[in-house]
């Protein structure tokens, strides 16, 4: 199997798209090499061209109008390959692990069948042996009870198991190279940790080469021997992982590394705001229970109490401070956020705002109360109306909550854009003309337009790049200090929250397993679950795997 050629060589690759505004260069003169048994990391922010580079290795152009240069796999140019030959390389010699396993597994086909067709079409297994090999593969990626799992449909598996199936599929034909496209983004922290462990183990055992594409430097550090950093279509730096993190040559790389949230030290440029020691409580939650269970008797009866997704949670948020709700998907953290915002009617319990009981649903609340509680959602792509300009997005809450004439309103729009550090000229743009981070800033500005006291931030960073996350966090801190805002901050990322929130509640299955001020809670966690979450945070200084000998 050892060949004189390296597994993959990319030589002076350029990719151009032809759009309405003429040619755009997505990848500009990138050259890379992946050695036998080597894992190369490809890092960069969204739009840096890293995914485009990865897809060209599979001969997938993704709508590109012009691809130049060479992409050699074992010395053969993938870009010049006839279609039939390309099919025999895809899957057979180069495996692929997708970003979103839920969306990438065919919903109507059992997972066993999806693994089996790889073996069958690439004829790497005798027809009689396929069934046994599928079970063996599923077992090797750590799926419990693989015989039964093979007969399940994708939606019957958890996110982590779906990703394991995708990894089993990628490795099914014992390929020389596996391309991983953000394989752990979108997974819970603890699941992410286990998938990374699995990938590291598979790499040791099978000596497969990897191209690991991710914006998450900390994950890359755990798998890859070398990391390449891309920015705006160009290669910025390629270096061994340890030297890249210890001694980055380029300023862009240094910024990227500095933006990774860390538990052990505060982020650069953190704003220390000593809040009053005993601020009054702005928000009090008392034995809140939320249930999505269907009510028996045609929706007239009471839902059963044991089906609660939030099980009688109590906590208080002090004025001018940040309270972080931490938990994995399904822990009930967003249900609490929705109940506070008045989007979900709680099954039981009380919510008090400024000492007064808050009506359950937003439409029952007074205009004043609705003004004072604002929410920012996870995904600005879907929470901003794509047809509206930024100006009219921001003007809407202004006309709802205040009586301003057109001139004063325009002045406020400009003021709000400046408050979230956006150019006032952006008022004329529409959401699709902005980057992800800029869109989230518009969403923050929209919340600010109402002059709220409490802002609920529901996973507002998870759709953003690490470096953008850092700048949005900094913005939130500045706004808090300037305006005395209170945040209810929902997140799954402990490292982000560590230096941002004064108080923290760790949720698991709808109940707190830890509640207290961030400093003491995270330095001396009592619950084993919190310890597990803390350990799952990927660390850059954990050190890369020992360098493998070229096979």
């Amino acid at each position: 199997m050892a060949s004189s050629w390296p597994v993959a060589q990319i030589r002076d690759l350029t990719v151009d798209y032809h759009g309405e505004r003429g040619w755009t260069r997505a990848v500009d003169g990138v050259s890379l090499e992946i050695g036998n048994g080597e894992a190369l990391g490809l890092a960069g922010e969204s739009g840096s061209g890293k995914t485009t580079v990865a897809y060209t290795l599979l001969g997938e152009r993704r709508g590109a109008s012009r691809v130049g240069g060479q992409v050699l796999f074992r010395g053969r140019d993938i870009l010049a390959m006839p279609a039939g030959e390309l099919l025999s390389v895809r899957g057979r010699s180069i495996g692929f692990v997708p970003q979103n396993p839920m969306a990438s597994l065919t919903p109507s086909m059992k997972v066993g069948g999806q693994v089996a067709e790889m073996l069958r079409f690439h004829a790497v297994e005798t027809p009689q042996g396929v069934g046994a090999r599928v079970v063996e593969l599923l077992d090797s990626v750590g799926i419990p009870n693989p015989v039964a799992a093979a007969r399940r449909y994708p939606h019957e598996l958890s996110g982590g198991q779906q990703q394991r199936v995708a990894i089993a599929m990628a490795l099914a034909c014992r390929p020389d190279l596996v391309i991983l496209d953000e394989p752990t983004t979108g997974l819970d922290v603890t699941t992410q940790k286990r998938i990374l462990e699995l990938l590291a183990a598979l790499k040791r055992e099978t000596a497969v080469s990897m191209l690991y594409v991710s914006h998450d430097l900390a994950s890359l550090a755990q798998i890859c021997e070398r990391v390449a950093v891309m920015q705006k279509g160009r290669l910025v730096e390629v270096a061994h992982t340890s030297s890249l993190f210890a001694d980055p040559r380029q300023e862009y790389t240094r910024d990227l590394i500095a933006a990774v949230p860390r538990l052990d030290r505060p982020p650069a440029g953190r704003i220390e705001a000593p809040p009053p020691r005993h601020a009054p409580n702005l928000l009090e939650i008392d034995r809140l229970a939320v249930s999505y269970a269907r009510r028996p008797l045609f929706g007239l009866g009471k839902p059963p109490a044991d089906a609660d997704s939030v099980k009688g949670v109590s906590f208080a948020v002090q004025r001018g401070k940040t309270f972080a709700l931490i938990g994995e998907s399904g822990s009930g953290k967003s249900s609490i956020a929705r109940a506070v915002a008045g989007l979900t009617r709680p099954r039981a319990g009380a919510i008090r705002f400024n000492g007064e009981a808050l009506p359950a649903l937003a439409r029952q609340r007074s205009t004043l109360l609705r003004r004072k509680i604002q929410i920012i959602f996870q995904n600005p792509d879907s929470s901003l109306n794509p047809r509206k300009t930024v100006r009219s997005i921001l003007a809407r809450p202004l006309s709802m909550f205040s009586r301003l004439d057109a001139v004063a309103r325009e002045a406020r729009v400009i003021e709000l854009l400046q408050a979230v550090r956006l150019d006032p000229a952006y008022a004329d743009r529409r959401p699709h003309q902005l980057s992800g981070g800029e869109r989230q800033r518009v969403a923050i500005a929209r919340a600010l337009a109402a002059e709220p006291e409490l802002i609920i931030c529901d996973e507002i960073l998870s759709a953003l790049d690490v470096s953008v996350q850092a700048s949005v966090l900094q913005l939130l801190q500045t706004l808090q200090r300037e305006r005395g805002l209170t945040y209810l901050f929902i997140s799954h990322d402990l490292a982000v929250v560590r230096w941002f929130a004064q108080d923290i509640g760790v949720l698991r299955q709808g109940a707190f397993c830890e509640l207290g001020d961030t400093e003491t809670t995270l330095s001396a966690p009592k619950s084993p679950y919190t310890i597990q979450l803390l350990e799952a945070v990927p660390r850059i200084d954990a050190g890369p795997p020992p360098e493998t000998q070229p096979a």
Binding site: L86, F96, S108, F121, H155, E156
Partner: protein, 309 residues
């Protein structure tokens, strides 16, 4: 679940029978007047009314019909003086043949054309098929029928203009007679389904799982038939249920255009004669067919989508 659906179906049938009965009741005149025509004397009318139980109140007549219907007796045609069951059964068979044949052709035609337009999106094949389909969508079915007659029956003289299938002497002749009405129905029905199939398949072809299947190195045919198509059929099946609902009404028009001896034409005739038992019986058959196709469509969608199982 199935039991509730069944109960709802029975309630719908009952409601339809009440509505149809009262609608017919509101039409001027009665069957006796229609049968005797202009030379009716008051005595003859009274006699005939008594014989047909038309002298009873509307409520009583409805209850008589309902109790008989529930015990399996559809009553006697007021005009033909024959049991309704015998009278309409041969007509039902004819219509079932016509709609069955149309449905049988409709499914492969819509899937094939939908798939062709989707995979050749933006190319001449797509444009050509899409233009024809859009034109057919705009034309009412009787226009399509008349166009087909003028081209294939009159200009080219390949096929008979009237579909008097009761006069067919051989299977070949039967097919010749039934061809034009079948094509009319298929053309009118497929138009929507092709559009729906195209849209839903285009969406599926752009999904991550289809990309994933391609990156697995699977042949195109495998990707299309096993990864894309099963997930694109759901919306097309729902539109089929709507189409069948349309067909139940459309068949009345198409049968009239081609003089086809089916229940659609019988329905038209019976309404003009105010032949209440026949009207009610046909309504029950049509409603039943409609409910059944919806049920089948729901079950198929559930079977195709493992998440709903």
């Amino acid at each position: 679940m199935v039991l509730t659906r069944f109960g709802i179906a029975l309630i719908s049938l009952l409601a339809v029978s009440v509505i149809i009965f009262w609608c017919v009741e509101m039409l001027p005149g009665d069957a006796a007047e229609r049968i005797l025509g202009r030379n009716a004397t008051p005595e003859a009318l009274a006699l005939l009314r008594e014989k047909l139980h038309l002298d009873l109140s509307a409520g009583q007549r409805y209850l008589r019909w309902l109790t008989a219907f529930l015990s399996g007796d559809m009553g006697t045609s007021l005009v033909a003086e024959r049991p309704v069951a015998d009278y309409i059964s041969s007509r039902i068979a004819n219509t079932a043949l016509l709609s069955g044949l149309a449905l049988l052709l409709y499914i492969p035609v819509s899937i094939t054309l939908g798939v062709l337009t989707a995979i050749h999106r933006g190319k001449p094949v797509d444009h050509a098929i899409s233009v024809v389909v859009l034109v057919l969508m705009c034309l009412p079915e009787f226009v399509i029928g008349i166009l087909l007659i003028s081209v294939f029956a009159i200009k080219l003289a390949w096929l008979p203009p009237l579909a008097l299938i009761d006069q067919a002497r051989s299977f070949g002749e039967l097919l010749e007679l039934i061809a034009l009405p079948t094509i009319t129905i298929v053309a009118a029905m497929s138009a929507y389904a092709v559009r729906m199939m195209r849209e839903s398949l285009i969406e599926v072809l752009e999904s991550s799982y289809v990309l994933m299947a391609r990156l697995k190195g699977l042949p195109k045919r495998r990707v299309l038939l096993f990864h894309a198509l099963p997930n694109a059929l759901g919306p097309a099946i729902n539109i089929t249920a709507l189409n069948v609902a349309w067909m139940i009404g459309g068949v009345v028009v198409v049968e009239s255009v081609f003089e086809f001896p089916g229940i659609g034409r019988l329905m038209v005739d019976s309404i003009s004669h105010k032949d209440v038992p026949v009207i009610l019986a046909i309504s029950m058959v049509m409603t039943g067919a409609y409910i059944a196709t919806n049920l089948v469509a729901d079950i198929l969608v559930i079977l195709l989508n493992p998440k709903l199982r």
